[in-house]
């Protein structure tokens, strides 16, 4: 791996309050969805609590399992850093801010669904949030300085799930054995 491995056994130093605060911050910033992009920026790039591979592994499982991909990723990062109490602190941190904000909005604005300007502003914010998601995905591809094989797998995933809208689970079931095989071959090639 290119990035220096981060030893998560040392990260026991990360306290539960710090974990809660970090996820609270990214929770209240993640307008327009795109929690994964914010999590990458705040937890991987800024704090360096987990590395790229741990992020990708959590993101893969988080999307393949039922539920919100962002919450699933958060649970796994919390668990990785501080076990079950860490998972709970991270998930509560992520959700408590948005919960309070959405209720405050509901109390103040009961009828915004027909305000054209409000919808336009939300569209604009959502567009930038999609940009953050794209940038995160591209950084992860670029960072790995992937060989032709992994790159082809990424492109195939984007085309089939994103562009052609084939169902995710069967696509992953087809691509995963190929990609894992490539990883095994790569390892043998390097060891030889």
């Amino acid at each position: 791996m290119i990035q220096p491995t981060i030893d998560n056994s040392c990260s026991n130093r990360i306290g539960l309050p710090a974990l809660f605060v970090a996820f609270f911050r990214l929770g209240v910033m993640s307008f327009g969805g795109g929690t994964a992009g914010w999590l990458y920026r705040e937890i991987v790039e800024r704090r360096r609590w987990i590395d790229d591979m741990q992020f990708l592994s959590g993101a893969a499982l988080g999307r393949l399992m039922p539920g919100s991909g962002g919450v699933n990723l958060t649970v796994q990062v919390g668990q990785l850093l501080r076990g079950s109490s860490g998972a709970m602190a991270a998930a509560l941190g992520l959700l408590s801010g948005p919960l309070a904000i959405v209720l405050a909005l509901a109390v103040s604005y009961t009828q915004i669904s027909h305000n054209v300007t409000v919808h336009a502003i939300l569209d604009g914010v959502a567009a930038a949030a999609i940009g953050l998601t794209f940038a995160t995905g591209l950084k992860l591809v670029r960072f790995r300085r992937a060989g032709a094989g992994p790159l082809a797998v990424t492109v195939a995933t984007v085309l089939s799930v994103g562009v052609l809208r084939w169902p995710m689970i069967p696509v992953v079931l087809c691509l995963a054995p190929i990609s894992i095989g490539l990883a095994l071959l790569d390892r043998r090639g390097r060891n030889a």
Binding site: G58, L94, P98, V102, H119, V125, G137, T154, G181
Partner: protein
């Protein structure tokens, strides 16, 4: 059984199964929430549902806070908490258990190969997720253009805070709508 307890139970019974059925999240979940709260339980009218959906879009947070709002509409703060916990707890427990099981095999050749094999797929799924959100956005080509411009700006200037970009893009769209209207 008192009525308010019965209402909370009904909320939990609607959202907890959805928690485990919502693979890939997004549109399918939204349709089912609408069906349950407007059609089956009459918790909201169609109009109220549209309002709650608009409010949930305006708030930050992962996935849908729509269930929280429906819970709030039906049974106040306890309703909001019940619906939120029901939607997120079952799936969180499932992913927690699976991840823990998976980490037991750490160190084996297979574990590392599977993780390295899934990495390019995960990157692809993140990009595909962005495309999916873009496709369902009501804003059309303007949203696509702004999304691509934002991607380029974030990659070109890593120090640019995304929130600044969010504000600029929101303001741009708001002004454009004002001028058009």
């Amino acid at each position: 059984m008192p009525d308010d307890i019965r209402t909370l139970l009904a909320l939990a019974l609607v959202f907890a199964p959805l928690s485990l059925l919502s693979i890939g999240g997004g549109a399918a979940l939204l349709t089912e929430i609408e069906h349950q709260s407007v059609g089956v339980h009459a918790w909201t009218t169609q109009r109220e549902f549209a309002d709650l959906f608009a409010i949930s879009r305006a708030a930050p947070g992962p996935g849908t806070m729509l269930s929280t709002l429906i819970g709030w509409k039906v049974a106040g703060l306890t309703g909001a908490l019940t619906a939120t916990v029901a939607l997120y707890l079952p799936s969180s427990l499932l992913v927690f258990g699976t991840a823990r099981l998976w980490r037991r095999w750490r160190g084996s050749v297979w574990h590392s190969a599977v993780e390295r094999g899934l990495a390019p797929i995960a990157a692809g799924l993140i990009l595909a997720g962005g495309i999916a959100v873009m496709r369902v956005s009501p804003g059309g080509p303007a949203v696509w253009a702004a999304a691509i411009a934002s991607t380029a700006l974030i990659l070109r200037w890593p120090s640019l805070h995304p929130l600044a970009l969010f504000a600029a893009s929101g303001a741009l769209f708001g002004v454009a709508a004002g001028l058009a209207g």
